[in-house]
């Protein structure tokens, strides 16, 4: 109950991240005339949609005390399958959506079942499935192949004013998942299990079933990202997911969700995604090479976790 109340309220970490976004934005606007233009603001949003949704999935899993490293392989695999089925027709596109969503859920259920029922550490489980799926993606095709209908591709680039459709969709997903976490029994159970699995078991909560559902949801969101990315690329890239496993964790942590589970929420993750995207964009404008951006990213993680570790102790 305490967690429930805590989760619904804006916390200091949200204000900190929000302030950082404002500062970085101001620096960007001051350093280049082209930064605060509608075109660039739209581009920043385009660049964060995929990461935003995958980080949303990771947030749910981490809140439940788990971790999902399967995105790298799963995204690649689902992108390839989606493009292979979608082709050029509306009918095949629908079929591809259903198949990929089903596969995403299946991958999640397998991850969840191995973790919850066999008792394998989620890190090892999802690492294993990710490796298998990365292999499967490359077994299907070694180079980007397949296609999606042109109207679907156009849809991914469409904007209302300065807001891309993809961004609107991502925000809607955040609201939906936020509501689920804060206002439904399922959400309460996720927090309870992440906070203290033993206590949750003793209180008679369906711990194992909930875990499977969490990973299934994570797999479904991963499938959604695969559809979005394939739409953006126009082809199915068998390496589309490379790096997304670890990259999905950074915003969750910077947003104040504890890796140990039970504390945090989607608002922090969303703000952190915005912060990282704006920061990357500003560094690009300042001609800082992506090499040094890595250093910045690593230092941000260290700063964020040190900050929260210190707080958790006190």
């Amino acid at each position: 109950m305490n967690n429930l109340i805590r989760a619904t309220r804006a916390q200091p970490v949200h204000l900190v991240v929000f302030a950082l976004i404002a500062i970085v934005f101001a620096v960007g606007a001051a350093s280049s005339d082209r930064f605060a233009t509608p075109l660039n603001i739209g581009n920043i949003q385009d660049q964060m949609v995929a990461l935003a949704i995958i980080a949303l999935a990771q947030t749910i899993v981490i809140l439940s005390g788990g971790i999902d490293l399967s995105y790298a392989g799963a995204l690649s695999f689902l992108c390839v399958v989606f493009a292979a089925i979608a082709g050029d027709g509306t009918g095949t596109l629908m079929l591809a959506m259903v198949v990929v969503a089903g596969l995403g859920i299946t991958i999640g259920v397998i991850n969840g079942a191995i973790t919850a029922y066999v008792g394998v550490h989620p890190l090892i489980t999802t690492l294993g499935t990710s490796t298998i799926l990365a292999g499967c993606a490359l077994l299907i095709t070694r180079q980007p192949s397949g296609s999606v209908p042109l109207f679907f591709e156009d849809l991914m680039y469409e904007r209302v004013g300065i807001v891309p459709y993809g961004m609107t969709f991502a925000v809607a997903l955040y609201l939906l998942v936020g509501f689920m976490l804060w206002r439904t029994v399922f959400g309460t159970r996720i927090y309870a299990i992440g906070d203290n699995e033993g206590a949750a078991t003793v209180s008679g909560l369906p711990v194992k079933q909930t875990k499977v559902a969490v990973y299934a949801l994570s797999g479904l969101l991963c499938a959604v990202v695969a559809m979005y990315m394939t739409g953006r690329f126009g082809v199915g890239d068998p390496r589309a997911g490379v790096g997304f496993d670890l990259r999905s964790i950074t915003p969750v942590i910077v947003g104040g969700t504890l890796l140990a589970g039970g504390k945090g929420g989607v608002l922090g993750t969303g703000l952190a995604v915005v912060l990282l995207a704006v920061l990357a964009n500003v560094l690009n404008f300042m001609n800082v090479s992506s090499f040094y951006q890595w250093i910045v990213e690593g230092l941000i993680i260290i700063a964020a976790v040190s900050f929260f570790a210190g707080k958790a102790k006190s």
Binding site: V120, T125, T131, G135, L139, F291, Y292, I302, V305, S306
Partner: protein, 317 residues
Amino acid sequence: MSAAISVNRNTVRAVQRREILMLLGFLAVIWATTAALSPRFLTPANLSDILIQAAPLGFVVIGQMIVIIVRGLDLSVASIMATVAVLSTSLIDSTAAIFAVGLLLGGLIGAVNGYLVAFRHVTPFLATLATMIVLQGIRFGYTGGAPGGSLPETFRWLATGNIVGVPVALIALGIVACAVHWLLERTVFGRRLKLYGDSPEAAYMTGAPTRFLVMMAFVISGVMAAFAGLFLVGYVGIVDNWTGRGYELDSIAAAVIGGAALSGGKGTVPGVLLAALILVSLFNIVVILGLSIELQLVIKGTLIILAAAVYMKRAQT
């Protein structure tokens, strides 16, 4: 009390022996199967290749196991391998100095990981993830994307040469493995590492310097990764910004297959070395049998999950 402890220690040893026999049996089965399928497998040249290829992974997995014993995880090993190789070969050109500087650098990076985990209470996963990314940036920034280190001749010999038929890399791994095995099984330090993994509170109560233990585990892992990086570039002959890519996951896989439990406290040097040999053999088999190279990934992933599942089932009974 002391009788109980010694009985306990004997059961632990017996379990460890069984695990190692199991791994040996598994290795024998896959070697026999491949030998039956392809005459090229059991040639001395191919077997020597497998052993030399297993050497870098062997170093990394020993370090990874030590970290896993203290309930940690080191995601930065591959990044340490590449960073050590790139920096030390570009700074100096004598083999001995490259090794000295490289190992020192590896230990220093490990100390940073260890400091973050032991003193700043950062989750090992995140601490090593962060150093991994930072090292990546430093390496690419320093080289501008194209590393220019050159390898001395003796360096190549160390990694690919042999003494009376035994690869030098393997001799080096053997010496280091024996040293770590002794450290783990016969010294107070090793016993305290395992005790900490079993129960950090108990280790603390016995007066063990727990923070120092955790930090040292990461230092050892850093030094091992440095060894691996140097032998790997010597073997490949080219220093690359991505040297060792994938070793973080391979080493975790090998450690788990070799009997190290992520919950801490368990793991033996012979076990994880055998597991590394099994992994490398499986990769070799895919090539020897002319199968699609992507199958390596599928096999590896399946094996990781199966091994972890088997140990979980055994732990429960």
